[in-house]
């Protein structure tokens, strides 16, 4: 190693945003990618299903990319894999459960066979050449989650991944704080740490607290119990199973994603379900109500989820009846409050009792709060710090937290997507940036929905569209058919016949004027129609529908 040796750290997702976490670590001819997540579209991305990172930089440097290392199996860390692997088929490293979930995903996309999945265990070190990646057990709201230590020739980079500190985790596998301390003692060049909960004071509660609440609820209830939670929260599911077992209830699982996870997690040994306890959702009618627990999806009120369909009597297998007890074991992700509220209202209307966030301890977060973050900063003692996984407000607050612990502001780097943090043994600085951003997935289309399409969808959503068609004989410049005006999403035509008739006259006048003046540039004609009609409609309705003039030339 020379003094000029450099490592580049390039966040390609998960900074200044929630989701699509991805970071590239580059040293000479090696690039290691940490995580490959998706994000959910924001409310302005009409029709978009998911959002994935722009990986142009990785594609451009295809030969350098040695592998993708995964911290854990949540969608915002693995969800973009099926799309990225199609362009960049490199080995993927992760723990058993993480890759179990990835497998299901790749199978659905029909690319499992050609993929290279490599199972690792906590404490494993993967050697990629000059760069080595060490997996370090942590705690999170999914089992088998890891932090990473990336050993590079210029120094050690610790990436926490998503984490919390749970001294009493459900699987007994406590976060390897000792190893982080050792690394801290050895000397860590850069810490990248989860900022999700940096606004919350205190410590994050242990997952076990939820189990205690479940036991109390189960012991008090003589009715059927339906628990909705995140499919991937295997520990939460385990705790529902434990409570059900204690109070002699059977458990049925309902909802495609949660059925998948329960199957994968059971097979791999991450869920322990006593013999004979799991029953098919088809058989719930065979047992009395007080012997049944249903674990289901829909804790975010997603309209197509099992719980939402149960709440509107659209579920084929579960009908909510009076006195059912529904536990929504989750907190609303910002933006989902109204959806959840709708489901809760419908459940109450059906006579169910519903326990949701206002009752404490039916959910705990999977992310470290302020005091937990302080512990990590203190033991890792990094020279430089880059807050990750959060919107700007979180990154900024995380920077302030580090400063309170004594770090100099000049040693803290609040990143932007694509910024290149250049590290040497004794320096760090942002130096340039690479192509980065978001790629929108809509149906089968990856990236074919861009700003123009979104702008049009927004315009259409707001005020609808008026299509104006006219057939014109080119030689004579005379109107052969039309103008016809067809509107969609603008007004209910039957009730606005006069308005539409007037609009037609506006178009006719524009045509007469232009054709009378021998305008034969259809573009000019179209823009006259558009302008006149827009002005007329805005005056009459204060709305601005999209106007689409079409001229058929014969």
């Amino acid at each position: 190693m020379t003094k000029k040796d450099k490592v580049k750290v390039i966040p390609l997702g998960g900074v200044n945003e929630i989701g699509k976490n991805m970071t590239a670590i580059e040293y000479k001819n090696e690039i290691i990618v940490i995580d490959c997540g998706l994000a959910f579209p924001d409310e302005e991305m009409f029709g978009v299903d998911i959002v994935i990172p722009d990986v142009s930089y990785l594609i451009k440097n295809k030969d350098k990319v040695k592998g993708i290392v995964l911290t854990h199996g949540h969608e915002d860390h693995i969800g973009a894999l099926p799309y990225i692997l199609k362009q960049l088929n490199v080995p993927v490293y992760g723990t058993k459960l993480t890759l179990g979930i990835v497998e299901t995903k790749l199978k659905e996309h029909g690319i499992l066979r050609e993929s290279q999945l490599r199972v690792v265990q906590p404490k494993d070190v993967i050697v990629f050449g000059d760069v080595k990646v060490e997996f370090i057990r942590n705690s999170h709201s999914i089992a088998d989650s890891c932090s990473l230590a990336i050993h590079t020739p210029v120094g050690i980079i610790v990436h926490t991944g998503d984490f919390k500190i749970d001294f009493t985790p459900i699987d007994g596998a406590v976060m390897d704080i000792t190893r982080l301390s050792e690394l801290g003692k050895e000397g860590v060049l850069l810490l990248m740490a989860d900022s999700t909960n940096v606004e919350r004071p205190g410590h994050t509660m242990s997952e076990r607290a939820v189990g205690e609440t479940f036991e109390k609820i189960f012991s008090d209830t003589k009715q059927r119990i339906i628990v909705a939670t995140f499919a991937s929260n295997v520990h939460r599911i385990q705790q529902v199973i434990n409570a059900a077992y204690k109070f002699h209830r059977k458990v049925a699982v309902c909802g495609r994603s949660i059925e998948n996870i329960v199957e994968v997690a059971s097979q791999l040994g991450y869920l322990s379900i006593p013999e004979g306890m799991l029953i098919s959702i088809d058989d719930i009618g065979k047992y009395p109500k007080h012997k049944i627990t249903i674990i289901t999806t829909g804790s975010q009120g997603e309209p197509m989820s099992a719980l939402a369909r149960m709440s509107t009597s659209e579920h084929r297998k579960v009908e909510i009846v009076k006195d059912d007890l529904v536990i929504i074991s989750a907190t609303p992700i910002p933006g989902n409050e109204k959806l959840i509220s709708r489901v809760i209202n419908q459940l109450f209307k059906k006579g169910a009792d519903v326990i949701y966030e206002s009752l404490a301890d039916i959910h705990v977060s999977g992310h470290a709060c302020q005091e937990d973050l302080k512990l990590i900063h203190t033991i890792v003692k990094p020279k430089y710090f880059m807050p990750v996984h959060g919107e700007y407000r979180h990154l900024k607050k995380h920077s302030l937290l580090a400063q309170k612990l004594g770090m100099d502001e000049s040693n803290i780097f609040i990143p932007e997507l694509g910024y290149v943090l250049e590290l040497t043994k004794d320096s760090a600085k942002f130096n340039g940036n690479v192509t980065s951003g978001q790629v929108l997935v809509d149906g089968l289309g990856v990236g074919d929905v861009g700003n123009i399409v979104l702008r049009d969808r927004k315009h259409l959503a707001q005020d609808g569209i008026l299509t104006v068609v006219v057939t014109i004989e080119k030689e004579t410049g005379s109107v052969i058919a039309g103008p016809d005006i067809i509107s969609r999403g603008f007004v209910y035509v039957r009730e606005s016949e006069n308005l539409m008739e007037e609009a037609r006259n506006i178009v006719k006048r524009a045509l007469d004027r232009c054709l009378g003046n021998n305008v034969t540039e259809w573009a000019a004609l179209k823009s006259s129609i558009k302008d006149d009609l827009r002005e007329f409609l805005y005056e009459k309705t204060k709305r601005k529908p999209m106007i689409l003039p079409i001229i058929m030339e014969i």
Copy 2:
């Protein structure tokens, strides 16, 4: 009064929903309307500006309607007045500040002159014939708010309006609990009470708590302070002014709605601003930063609000600079979380410090929590109870709260919009229902956007539209021009030329087939084109754009 005398209570808004509060009280030939509010469109109501109650029932019974009594001046209680008064010009009763705000509104809609606004004071009793309405002072997040006692021949109905119990209100005018107790002693037939905060245990904090926090923040800050809050929260504005006064700062007000309220409230004596303290927003540059406080709108992150525009440097008069302190003195209304978060991120990026909900006591609710509700139920001691102002979950929880206090479930009536609660001296039952619901306001259109238009807007938002135009000679059945396909909001055409070319071929084949078979019913032809194209596009893209075939006949 005979034993058969009946009073009808008909909620026309504000039950099973948040907003557009309105209730009709009917006795023989008199209808008194309580409140006349608007609601904000939900996320599926694309392009809709506001939602108002369907008042068909009132219009049908125009001659009976004697007046509208207003509990307070919030949008969800007065916002529909400009629209309803145009159809039903009856006297409107309210306190001075309430009608001051209404006046501004009616002026904007150009109907102030013909309106009949009648100012009342707390303790006033308005006699409408057999029905008398008594105004009773209460506390809420707007000054001059009232509960109502409606004295009818069959008994007294108490309607709390929106309220909280604040023993130390800013204006010193404490809720008239004594009068409610007297009424309770006299005997109340029906209580209708605010359910907004029924899920929250304990008491609602006094507005004064916020003032204490402001003082602390102001005393610690040497920078410019910008406070965003609800325009109508006059007490909150007063407290900002008090803190500014104490720490020798000038105050500038920024944002149209808050400028209006400050003007009205000052004129009417609800705001007391020391001489020379209020400066124009144009003059903020004339004072050092530590001498300036700006009170502004945008506490909900509304994209067009003053604060949002400041955060993106689009505000003409205020530029956020490093170290500005922004206080967002409000909690997010469900659904607004992401908008607010966006503004907070942008403010932080500009180098401002931002204090928002996570810091306690910069906002308190205007609605009664559980213990406050219990007090009201206990002193009013109604025979019957109808929870109002809330979604179903709130109404249900409020019913449970009343039952815990000893009320029989059969005496509690959870309403639906338009349900008629029929009261006699000693009975109550739901009996039938009247037309009710929501009327959507979009631009100048009131009610012209209905389900079909909304469904189309949703479809257009999701996948865009493909317009297919073809000109056909009717006699020969031959295609003279086209087919042309124009897409908007579907794919970016330049990148999807092949797809569009294939789509054109699909349409050509459908045309050939139909015209070859002498199909001359254009409806049949259109539906062939639609079906073939839909199937093709779904297979290729898994999307379902709207398809609009247009046939021009010559």
